[in-house]
């Protein structure tokens, strides 16, 4: 009994930071409709800044002052990010802003590395709160008790702000109809900035508060991000009580998990999330999202046509040039080109889902990594020949996509996106924690291709044929009846259903197909590297694909491939330098601001303006 109570208390104490970060994310999303990927980064900054301030400021006042100041400082940083990075792109298509926030993640990672160095920092103990108290014989850190007391106060203050003050009323009004709030004389721009700053400050506060328990390290941004997404989705987007309850559930669950099921703590969190969403699709306290409800409908997409002769010749020339690469390129160039080709196929498969189907998946790495792991597991545990294992990679990934899609497709929009992310993380945590089968963090090694493919050049041709073939096939399907139906379901579900198209089934098939193609890329990947690690299933891998699709141009057929080739190429060049993330992050932010239609879309518009291309249809 004592242990039970103690664990309950620890869980509740841990819920504090999680709640603060989650409520910040939820607030920002509610008002600005931005899924702030960088929220974990602000949490991390809060921890680092708090750490530095604690070194400088003395005593108990200094300690608590440092936490408060860290929150404020992060709020100010958030405000700057909002004004400099997000404000120029509010009019861009929905979800495009999250690309910019991804750029912010990279920038913050390197800045933190520059300022605080690569080593984990051990958080200082809170003055006067060292040691433990005994409750029913069980030791409980005094700091946990302090957190237990503080969190409800923060939650109450936040609740008061949102429900009782004018600012809170405006925030809630803007969550529902921001255009109307503007028409009533409220300066939306500042409301957005204010809310973004507040949300970031909460994240910073959470980061600083957990210092004595967890310290500060460079991985904490992504680590918290997943948990926060889970909390926000379980609680319901935009609901403060929901965020609090969900944070408590997740934290308590985690503490008990560590004791009773140490092998599956991470898995547990996602299982709970899936269970909640199956019963309540919009979270415990969430409200149903109606697409287009918030008046953010972008420019309609243009009709697509199968490539004309010119383009076909161009593509053929490109493929020929790639085929000739081994004649003059070094081994290294071929390895690099293999990487890029595989990544392009991966990106193209996500683009199919996103561009044609309007389905934003935050967890597409599940099928890439999933395919890779299927092959690797077969080779490792069943001595399956490479050819067969390779074939089973896309099939395994496709099957995973069918199961996951079946559940996720009950939802739409950002809930769908979050749920796909949760499943990807579930798969990742399975692989990560089920060490005896998957090798856990150590990965699976010696997954080499069959002898006839073992040379760099041979494998390069193998990858070339399958990647280009896969990409061409994806494009071909876009022009088939099925591709039309997918676009029809996206453009007008009402009309599609009224003319007999089973839109859910169409989406289901598309999801499975995209998963299969990602699995194919995964299969190519694992045999090119000879090994596989859990990070191929990770959230960052999913985001990589998402980012390049957006940057390449969602609304253009070749956006995924161009974005993939460009960014993978740039990344491979930049990773040689120490602070490549900084450069990459700034590059992403730059592209987002100057090319809101993506690289391909913006180039096309420029070409049209210059008269090089005929306009799609003139304004008649």
């Amino acid at each position: 009994m004592g242990l039970f109570i103690a664990q309950l208390l620890t869980g509740l104490a841990n819920a504090g930071a999680l709640f603060m970060v989650a409520s910040g994310l939820s607030l920002i999303f509610g008002v600005t409709r931005i899924v702030n990927f960088a929220h974990g980064s602000f949490y991390m900054l809060g921890a680092y800044i708090g750490y530095t301030l604690m070194q400088v400021l003395p005593g108990a006042v200094g300690f608590w002052g440092a936490i408060l100041l860290a929150g404020i400082a992060v709020g100010v940083i958030g405000m700057l990010v909002e004004i400099l990075v997000l404000r120029p792109i509010y009019r861009a298509p929905e979800l495009f802003q999250l690309v910019a926030t991804f750029g912010v993640i990279l920038v913050v990672q390197d800045l933190a590395l520059m300022v605080w160095g690569p080593d984990d920092l051990l958080g200082p103990r809170a003055p006067g709160l060292r040691g433990v108290v005994r409750i029913m014989g069980e030791p409980i850190p005094k700091y946990d008790i302090a957190l237990l007391v503080i969190t409800p106060f923060v939650a109450l203050a936040l609740w008061y702000l949102i429900t009782k003050t004018r600012v809170g009323i405006l925030v809630r009004a803007a969550t529902q109809d921001r255009e109307m709030v503007g028409a009533l004389g409220v300066n939306q721009a500042w409301l957005f900035t204010g809310v973004f700053a507040l949300g970031c400050a909460l994240a910073g506060l959470g980061g600083a508060l957990q210092l004595p328990k967890g310290g500060a390290d460079l991985l904490m941004d992504f680590n918290i991000l997943t948990a926060v997404f889970v909390v926000v989705v379980i609680g319901g987007m935009g609901s403060l009580p929901g965020a609090y309850l969900a944070a408590v559930i997740i934290s308590v669950l985690n503490v008990f998990g560590v004791t009773y099921l140490p092998q599956s703590t991470l898995v547990l969190m996602f299982v709970v999330m899936v269970l909640v969403l199956m019963v309540r699709p919009y979270g415990l306290f969430g409200r149903e999202e109606v697409a287009g409800e918030h008046g953010q409908v972008g420019e309609p997409e243009r009709p697509i046509k199968p490539a004309g002769l010119q383009v076909r010749l161009l593509v053929a020339a490109g493929v020929a040039a790639l085929a000739a690469l081994p004649l003059f390129g070094s081994n290294f160039t071929q390895v690099l080109a293999t990487d890029i080709l595989i990544f392009c196929l991966f990106a193209a498969s996500l683009h199919f889902l996103l561009g044609l189907g309007g389905m934003v998946s935050f967890g597409h790495a599940a099928y890439f990594g999933g395919g890779a792991y299927v092959a690797a597991l077969l080779v490792t545990h069943a001595d399956t020949p490479m050819e067969l294992a390779f074939l089973l990679a896309p099939i395994g990934a496709g099957m995973a996509a069918i199961i996951i899609g079946w559940i996720c497709l009950r939802l739409t929009g950002v809930y769908f996106a979050m749920l796909t992310l949760a499943f990807a993380q579930l798969l990742w945590s399975l692989v990560f924690q089920w060490g005896e089968v998957t090798g856990g963090d150590d990965g699976l090694l010696s997954i080499w291709p069959a002898p006839w493919l073992s040379g760099t050049t041979a494998y390069y041709y193998f990858a070339l044929v399958l990647s280009v073939g896969g990409i061409l096939f994806l494009r071909h399907v876009a022009h088939s009846p099925f591709g039309y139906a997918l676009r029809a379901a996206r453009d007008s579900e009402r009309q599609a259903e009224a003319t007999g198209i089973d839109t859910r089934r169409v989406r289901m098939f598309a999801f499975a197909f995209a998963g299969m193609m990602a699995g194919l890329a995964g299969g190519l990947f694992v045999f090119s590297k000879g090994s596989i690690f859990p990070n191929e299933l990770e959230i960052t891998r999913s985001f990589d694909a998402l980012i390049v699709v957006f940057l390449g141009g969602v609304k253009t057929l070749s956006g995924g491939i161009v974005g993939g080739a460009f960014f993978k190429g740039v990344e491979d060049m930049l990773t040689r330098y120490e602070y490549w993330r900084l450069a990459m992050g700034l590059l992403i932010i730059f592209v987002v601001i100057v090319a809101p239609d993506g690289i391909v879309g913006t180039l096309r518009k420029l070409a049209e303006r210059a008269g090089l291309l005929r306009r799609a249809e003139d304004e008649t």
Partner: protein
């Protein structure tokens, strides 16, 4: 004459509010039947129940004698019911002809084919359908730039792709210019005559209703208060009171103005 559509005691309640109450009617083959009534009388609710978007809380719907109550929109479409929407619903990213080709692909159960080029399929038939509604000249235009009246005509072509026995048209002429309205309804009347299609439509423009409907039903507060020929409805005192009479609110001023 054979009965195409029949409702018996169709009822829909939202919580305590009864939106449609005990509505029974029959629609004969080749008939152009208008459903009129004030805003909020339950016309759209009625339509959505016929098309399967809403499940009735009471009563049955029969199509060619077969009970279709509570079937999904897709099932009802399969059985030969086409519809057009009050707020147009088309595929904005496609061209005009592709919109119709999509409907034809669904009609021919080819939605899940992933290998052939869709733009080559059913082109001739699609052009023929566009011809029926006078849209063949705009076949290659981007749907997103069409004028409102043209979108309505395109919707009609999409609905006709399935060779429906019954067409449900929800305010087909809303938002169109007077001349366009007459043209669209004339077109609909021609289709009814030539193809033996039956049509049930809702409409606010009485000129359109009186000129083209074979029969009129009047819905008020969820109840069917009249059902008859154009002349019967025009002269029905109850209908004049709740709908045609222009409301009672500003009557005195109207009379003054009209005098």
């Amino acid at each position: 004459m054979s009965v195409v559509l029949e409702t018996r005691g169709l009822t829909k309640a939202f919580g305590g509010l009864v939106a449609v109450n005990d509505v029974s009617f029959k629609l004969q083959k080749g008939e152009l039947l208008a459903l009129i009534g004030p805003n909020g009388a339950g016309k759209s609710t009625c339509f959505n129940m016929l098309m399967g978007q809403l499940k009735p809380t009471g009563g049955r719907v029969f199509l060619m004698g077969e009970d279709i109550t509570g079937k999904s929109p897709r099932d009802i479409w399969r059985r030969g019911v086409g519809r057009t929407f009050q707020i147009t619903a088309t595929y904005a990213s496609m061209t005009v002809i592709e919109n119709v080709q999509m409907a034809l692909l669904s009609h021919n159960r080819q939605v899940f084919r992933a290998l052939p080029f869709a733009h080559r399929m059913h082109r001739a038939r699609a052009l023929e359908l566009l011809g029926m509604v006078g849209m063949e000249a705009q076949a290659e235009r981007h749907c997103a730039v069409l004028a409102y009246g043209d979108l309505k005509r395109l919707e009609l072509a999409i609905a006709l792709a399935h060779e429906p026995t019954l067409l449900l048209m929800d305010e087909p002429t809303a938002g169109m210019a007077p001349r366009e309205r007459i043209a669209l309804m004339q077109l609909t009347a021609d289709i009814v005559r030539d193809q033996g299609v039956s049509v049930l439509f809702t409409e606010h423009d009485m000129d359109v209703v009186f000129a083209h409907a074979h029969r009129i039903m009047v819905l008020n507060r969820g109840e069917l208060i009249a059902d008859g020929s154009v002349d019967q409805i025009r002269n029905d005192p109850r209908v004049q009171e709740v709908y045609l009479g222009g409301g009672t609110v500003f009557k005195s001023e109207d009379e003054a103005a009209d005098a």
